[in-house]
């Protein structure tokens, strides 16, 4: 019970951190529409590595919901795009997580997971944008450019995730009371 409460609090805390990054990112103008560094994803990835997929899904979901409510974009096209991207990347992360895990020789590290998340995110956004907002074939011409940006940012956020995980590990943080609870 204590463990559960602590975990809930942690999820809320991580989600809050992700929301802050999400909003900060939203306030920075982007050179290309649809291109954002996606640093809020770093939080999702850190939670995935430390607390598993379910916790990560919670953090990502809360981030999109709370973030859009705070930004006033709930149920707008922006929200649809960001929600579809988040859902797709969480599902993709879940698939890779179940299949390859974290600690086997064949498990990808932060970079691999970041790539999976970023591509799924962008692919879903493009698809939803094409389906709902810009049903024009010209949109697909942008796909390579957008996915290139995704890939570059995935490397950055993968690296950041790795740095953060190492830093948290060195601190030997005491938040792992629920070890083995999954």
């Amino acid at each position: 019970m204590t463990a559960m409460r602590l975990k809930d609090q942690q999820i809320a805390g991580f989600a809050a951190l992700a929301v802050v990054i999400h909003i900060l990112e939203a306030s920075v103008p982007s050179p290309l529409p649809g291109v954002k560094p996606g640093l809020a994803n770093v939080v999702t990835l850190v939670v995935l590595f430390r607390h598993g997929w379910i916790a990560a899904a919670w953090v990502a979901g809360l981030r999109v919901l709370v973030g859009s409510l705070l930004l006033g974009s709930f149920m707008t096209p922006t929200f649809m795009l960001s929600a579809s991207g988040a859902i797709a990347s969480v599902i993709a992360l879940g698939g890779v997580y179940r299949a390859l895990g974290l600690q086997h020789a064949w498990s990808p590290g932060p970079l691999g997971y970041a790539l999976v998340a970023a591509w799924a995110h962008m692919a879903a956004q493009l698809f939803v944008a094409w389906l709902l907002f810009i049903p024009h074939d010209g949109l697909w011409r942008l796909a390579p450019v957008l996915l290139t940006a995704s890939t570059v940012f995935a490397v950055v956020s993968g690296w950041a995730t790795w740095k953060l995980l190492s830093w948290l590990a060195e601190r030997g943080s005491a938040d792992r009371v629920d070890e083995g609870a999954c």
């Binding site: 698939g95 299949a99 796909a143």
Partner: protein, 358 residues
């Protein structure tokens, strides 16, 4: 083994994304035919087949062009209409050759329903004005006496009896307001008969026949503004199998002075009642599933002037967009639902009047 599944699925997903997003490029071709530049687009069959279908369509178009040309007798090919005109002018009674019969029957019925406003029998009048030929294009209107004489011909639906016509020295059957629509319809039908899944857009000098649609949306067309160059009057999404035909006073014309010495704009759409260019409209657009009817009706309704709703009803036309001589936009209820008027340069949408069909 399970460890292989997810990466494999991921790879499949990426490949799917690749193919899914790699939309087929449509095949497109242009050719000078039917007295205009014809542009044909085919898609939905795969690149090679699209191209093959276009090639065949091009050959068929050239063939039909020869068949329906009113005057030019080519050594190669069957110049059926030109041959028929030649025999009519020798006073013979001629049975319409089989390949022309359907078109003749359609045109005769449109002459009837349009109350003579569309009339292929006024070919003599067209020739008198000189609009029939690029080489003899007019620079001044003919004498009124000659016009009245050219008008003294029976309507086409009275001339055609049991697939036969009786000739006269000055007779000339001209399908200028019908053949393009009829031929484009035939070309489209031939493609669809062989490839039901094909999508195509046939553009005969600005007159359009659409089949199917683009992968993600219908064929979308713009109607040109009759007075402001480079501007659109409206945009319309065409339905599967629909034709869009516009008659306008702004393309084939010459400027000269009339009998009173007034400077005048003489365009090529002649009013069979007066023998002079039709007054009252700048342009008139018709949508209909039958290209031949759309072609004939756009001419007949243009000629009808302000009375066009009655003619539209009698010809079975429900989608009409018209610009009157003083620039007022008129349309039918169906057209109002389907066409989107293009805003003026200051962003204001022009006003349009809905005319009810009787």
């Amino acid at each position: 083994m399970k460890k292989v599944i997810m990466p494999a699925l991921l790879a499949v997903f990426l490949v799917w994304l690749m193919f899914f997003s790699n939309r087929e490029k449509p095949a497109q071709m242009q050719t000078l035919a039917m007295g205009t530049l014809v542009d044909m687009t085919v898609l939905g069959l795969g690149g090679q087949t699209n191209y093959q279908v276009l090639q065949n369509a091009m050959l068929q178009l050239r063939e039909l062009e020869t068949v329906w040309h009113p005057d030019r007798i080519k050594p190669e090919g069957q110049a059926l209409l030109a041959e028929l005109n030649r025999r009519l002018q020798q006073g013979e009674t001629v049975t319409v050759p089989q390949p022309l019969q359907q078109g003749f029957a359609d045109a005769a019925s449109y002459t009837g329903t349009s109350n003579g406003l569309f009339d292929p029998a006024i070919g003599g009048l067209v020739k008198l004005w000189g609009f029939h030929s690029d080489e003899q294009f007019p620079s001044a209107p003919p004498a009124d006496a000659d016009i009245q004489q050219a008008l003294a011909t029976p309507h086409f639906d009275d001339l055609l009896q049991n697939h036969a016509l009786t000739g006269r020295a000055d007779m000339r059957v001209d399908f200028g307001a019908f053949a393009k629509g009829f031929v484009l319809k035939e070309v489209a039908a031939a493609i669809v008969a062989e490839y039901p899944q094909a999508s195509l857009l046939l553009n005969g000098g600005g007159d359009l026949v659409a089949v199917g649609q683009r992968p993600s949306r219908p064929w979308r067309i713009a109607v040109r503004h009759p007075r402001e160059q480079g501007r659109y009057l409206a945009t319309i999404a065409l339905k599967d199998g629909e034709a869009a035909f516009t008659s306008g006073d702004y393309e084939r014309f010459f400027d000269s002075v009339d009998a009173q010495g007034q400077a005048q704009h003489f365009h090529h759409i002649l009013d069979p009642r007066s023998g002079w260019p039709a007054k009252g409209s700048q342009s008139l657009t018709v949508l209909h599933a039958d290209g031949g009817l759309a072609d004939a009706a756009s001419t007949a309704l243009f000629v009808a002037g302000d009375d066009w709703p009655a003619v539209a009803a009698s010809m079975g036309i429900t989608a009409v967009l018209r610009v009157t001589a003083d620039g007022q936009i008129e349309w039918t209820a169906e057209m109002a639902e389907r066409a989107e008027l293009t805003p003026n340069s200051d962003g204001v949408k022009p006003q349009a009047v809905v005319r009810a069909l009787p």
